[in-house]
């Protein structure tokens, strides 16, 4: 009886040992590699997605891009008539100028406002006020773009008509102001980080030499943080160029080269968004919209790369 109990106990211990070893084996051979690989996939996925998207856009655009599309007309004509029954024309000059003008206007408004706010938050506010401001600015960045578009159409539009006597309220000015408000949060948060990264010894040295606070900001902090501030501005530019829904609603979406602030305009992004849904798949029009996608891809890539190189510039400067 006792012997049997002991043997049973030994058996149990053996089974447990075997199970434990199995578990360790399982963890070593299965769980670890799977986890490792899952994490690796996460890391590589960003690269994968970028190339997959680029490949996909290029794949659809290629038949038009390398044959059929007159690239000179594409970049120099303002006639965007992709569905004309007479002669379809694919000229994006007006759309390109629309994108550039609304981005330039937005930056003209957003850069002073954004950098000013960054300086205030970083250098002149403290404690609760600083925290509140930071939270509110982040909140501003979280407002969906369709809501901004709505504000442009329903609030800004009538205000513009009332004060300027413009025939229509959705135009370059409206789109520029809305885009500026959307880019400010990015400029503020990146700009503030750049200012915060300047060592306090710079500030102390400047103040001890008798500089005023404004002099300290203007003569010491700006030069010291100039790369970070430039990166903030470029990220804001990237945001403005890529924005779609808000500009579609606020700019008026009219194909013309703008001559005044009150002219309705149309951007590249909004053109794709508005037209792609109803084109015939595989059609010339459909493919040209993807070529526009490539143009946008190229522009935002250059802007982001510039921002990246500038940021890298800061790092190597600091380590040297």
């Amino acid at each position: 009886m006792l012997e049997r109990l002991i043997r049973l106990w030994q058996l149990r211990a053996a089974v447990l040992r075997w199970l434990r070893r199995g578990w360790h084996l399982f963890v070593d051979r299965v769980v670890e590699p799977v986890m490792e690989c899952a994490i690796r996939i996460c890391g590589w996925s960003a690269i994968l997605f970028i190339f997959a998207i680029l490949f996909f856009v290029l794949w659809i655009a290629a038949p038009m891009l390398f044959g059929g599309l007159d690239l000179v007309e594409f970049f120099t004509s303002e006639n965007w008539r992709p569905t004309s029954a007479v002669r379809p024309q694919f000229g994006i000059l007006a759309l390109l100028l629309g994108t550039l003008s609304v981005t330039a206007l937005a930056m003209l408004l957003a850069v002073p406002l954004g950098l000013g706010a960054a300086v205030y938050v970083s250098e002149f506010s403290s404690g609760k006020l600083k925290e509140t401001l930071k939270v509110l600015i982040e909140l501003l960045a979280a407002i969906p773009s369709v809501v901004w578009g709505f504000v442009g159409m329903m609030v800004m539009g009538p205000i513009i008509i009332h004060f300027t006597g413009a025939p229509v309220g959705v135009n370059l000015l409206n789109g520029g102001v809305i885009l500026a408000l959307m880019s400010v949060p990015i400029i503020v948060s990146v700009g503030e980080d750049a200012l915060k990264a300047v060592p306090d010894s710079y500030r102390e040295a400047a103040l001890s030499l008798g500089a005023g606070r404004w002099e300290m900001v203007y003569r010491v902090l700006f030069p010291a943080a100039k790369n970070g501030l430039l990166a903030a501005v470029l990220l804001g530019v990237g945001r403005a160029i890529g924005e779609t829904m808000a500009v579609l609603m606020a700019t008026g979406h009219a194909i013309q080269i703008p001559h005044s602030l009150l002219d309705p305009i149309r951007t590249l992004t909004a053109t794709i968004a508005a037209e792609l849904g109803e084109t015939v798949e595989g059609d010339a029009h459909y493919r040209v919209l993807f070529v526009i996608g490539l143009v946008l891809f190229a522009v935002t890539f250059v802007v982001n790369l510039a921002a990246d190189l500038v940021v890298k510039g800061i790092r190597s400067e600091r380590t040297s």
Binding site: E36, E78, R81, T83, M154, Q256, G277, T279, V280, E281
Partner: protein, 290 residues
């Protein structure tokens, strides 16, 4: 070792993704933005009397619906333009059936101006001069409208995005074949948006379905030639074809519809379905248009 696991994981991911692609059974109707309201109303009304039938309605545009029909992702495609030859060819090549065309109603395109605009009637010729390439009308005073009332003399043209069925129809019916739009119009992405912008903009003129009228806008009477009496966009005038800019609303199916889809389509063309068309401000088809 770990590469094998990676391959397995990716394969599982793809399988899961592929499994999600197919949605549940039911009648799927997709397409024209102009028709999406009426299609939704059909689906709801039909479900009341036929609780066993589930109708899914998607918008996205005439082109999207037709592409979806070609790929076999929907049973019926709504279209506010005719299916193009190459689309019919592709349907035949891909699914081996002919496209079947059904007219489910008519849409009278109304020309809208701001409610304070004193203009009452406009001729097709004048509309072509306002919207057409090289057209000579750009000021309200050219139409005899006192610019003081509108606070601007500039005519703000409101149009649709160039891939919309409404855009193509208005071009054909008003500008005539072989004429393009003047560039620089404000191109809206939805029928409703056109009316909303005209209501907000005293100097604007725009075209959109008759069913989208709101208290902020006024529908103009249309005459064929300048000086003739204008015809108001009403159901009555659209039905007897007096009103000059009326177009059919099409439903396309791949071959003759069968089973549930056929029952639904028959119901749409029957008096119950046509009453929905009328209720939403569109014009019912022929014999049921009482």
């Amino acid at each position: 070792m770990s590469h094998q696991y990676c391959a397995v994981l990716v394969a599982i991911g793809l399988l899961v993704a592929a499994g999600c692609g197919r949605s549940s059974e039911g009648i799927r109707m997709e397409g024209s933005d102009t028709m999406v309201n009426v299609a939704q109303a059909w689906a709801e009304k039909y479900h009341e009397t036929h609780p066993e039938a589930v109708v899914q309605v998607l918008g996205g545009g005439s082109g999207v619906g037709i592409a979806s029909l070609i790929d076999g992702n929907c049973d019926m495609a709504n279209a506010s333009r005719k299916m193009e030859d190459r689309e019919i060819q592709r349907l035949k090549a891909k699914r081996g059936v002919e496209a079947k065309e059904h007219v489910a109603g008519h849409d009278a395109l109304a020309v809208y101006v701001h409610k304070d605009n004193p203009l009452d009637t406009i001729s097709l010729e004048e509309l072509a001069e306002i919207y057409g390439e090289g057209g000579k009308i750009g000021k309200w005073s050219q139409l005899g409208v006192d610019s003081k009332v509108l606070a601007t003399d500039e005519i703000t043209r409101v149009s649709r995005q160039n891939s919309s069925g409404t855009y193509a129809y208005f071009r054909e019916a008003v500008l005539g074949k072989g004429r393009d739009y003047k560039l620089g119009s404000i191109d809206q992405s939805g029928s409703k948006d056109v009316v909303a912008l005209v209501a907000n903009t005293p100097g604007a003129i725009g075209y959109s379905g008759m069913g989208y009228a709101t208290p902020g806008v006024k529908m103009l009477r249309i005459s064929k030639h300048k000086g003739e009496a204008g015809i108001a966009p009403t159901i009555e005038n659209a039905k007897n074809e007096k009103y000059p800019i009326t177009r059919p609303l099409w439903i396309y199916s791949a071959g003759e519809p069968e089973g549930q889809a056929k029952a639904f389509l028959d119901w749409i063309l029957a008096p119950e379905g046509q009453k929905v068309v009328l209720d939403l401000g569109y014009v019912p088809v022929g014999e049921h248009a009482k």
